[in-house]
Symmetry: C2
Subunit: 227 residues, 2 copies
């Protein structure tokens, strides 16, 4: 004597509810719900009915299912396939200050101090986050490298750089940290700004030049311009 029927196509109220529950459950538990859990929270008393809807959602492409496997379902659309990697935010980089470099305690005893998540699909090489670290740029001094105040740079720690690498270097004799493209020439190093309109600076090989890391990515969250 009571029945909310959903004609033919489109997502029904039940479908919607299930989809939302799966999403929220996944967020909270880090893994998908079981059929029975879905039924419980969506006021469906029979596991077969849940299965019934799950089948439909799968056919309509909202869901993927690994039959026979516990909680083997996942939403399509957003929260897609790719995985991502978390890189540690070690501190800030600014002119006149040495930059922090990753301590050598491998990757154990990780302090989730502060970190940035990067979609793995964005990483250029296969340098999949093993030893990457992130720095926040402070001040406008990196402008010649097309890096602005507040930007986040992702870098791979290294002492040596190939020609063409963008590196973070510490010029102790100039008491300056800077981001430049690195080129080794006859008797000196050429540090080429990213901005083609700016002239490179040359560092004699006698001068101490400490390469701190190689930049692999720059991320800028554009918020607002203060002016």
């Amino acid at each position: 004597m009571m029945m909310m029927v959903r004609k033919s196509k489109g997502l029904g109220e039940r479908h919607q509810k299930i989809l939302e529950f799966i999403a929220s459950y996944q967020r909270e538990h880090k893994h998908p719900p079981s059929i029975r859990e879905i039924g419980l929270h969506c006021d469906i008393s029979s596991t077969s009915v849940v299965n019934y809807y799950l089948d439909q959602l799968e056919k309509s492409g909202h869901l993927e299912r690994d039959r026979k496997i516990s909680r083997g379902m996942r939403l399509t659309g957003n929260t897609p396939l790719g995985d991502m990697l978390r890189v540690q935010m070690l501190g800030v980089i600014q002119a006149g200050e040495p930059i922090p470099v990753p301590t050598n305690d491998s990757f154990s005893s990780f302090t989730p101090d502060d970190s940035v998540e990067i979609a793995a699909s964005l990483m250029p090489s296969k340098e999949k986050g093993k030893e990457l670290f992130a720095l926040k740029v402070q001040g406008d001094s990196m402008i010649d490298a097309m890096v602005n105040d507040g930007d986040i740079i992702i870098l791979k720690p290294t002492q040596e750089a190939s020609n063409g690498d963008m590196v973070a270097v510490w010029l102790s004799e100039r008491n300056e940290t800077t981001l430049k493209f690195f080129f080794k020439e006859k008797d000196k190093y050429r540090l080429q700004p990213a901005n083609p309109t700016m002239k490179p600076i040359y560092v004699d090989k006698k001068e101490s030049l400490e390469i701190k890391g190689k930049v692999v990515m720059v991320i800028r969250k554009v918020e607002r311009y203060n002016s």
Copy 2:
């Protein structure tokens, strides 16, 4: 009469193997393996041994476990909790060319033409990818906005901008697309370059100025410098 023993602390060969298997299995199947599957692929004949190692990995912080729940394990460190959102890459943006804007077919019939994945945790506002789109910057003409050739910009489609927003605008009378910070003044618009050393350009309100979108993020993959 044969036994590879691992003294005391640190990750043993077995631990490493299990960790790697879980990661690869997860990549392939989109869900964690079961204890028996781990044992099978890591040459461990007893489920209790796998459980034994899993316990250790959990204690050492490499793994999280939801006991009693099938495949209720996940690696910590990388491949973490957060979800991400996929934004469509609609095309390129370059001076002298109009930029593509999202067609109005909502978000159904999604062509995975080309897309970028962004960690949700990086998104400034709660504008969680609903209608975001991405463009690849071509040419050096956006340099005054601290955007380089090859950069990827994420923007939110809009026709109106508030003061201080970074917008992509089409100046039809100048036949140019550009990225600038937007300010409305008495009788004109001020388009402020991101680079503080560069002067703003002013556009009379009579001139047509089409705001295409508001930039929310800039991503640069640093590969190599051609020079």
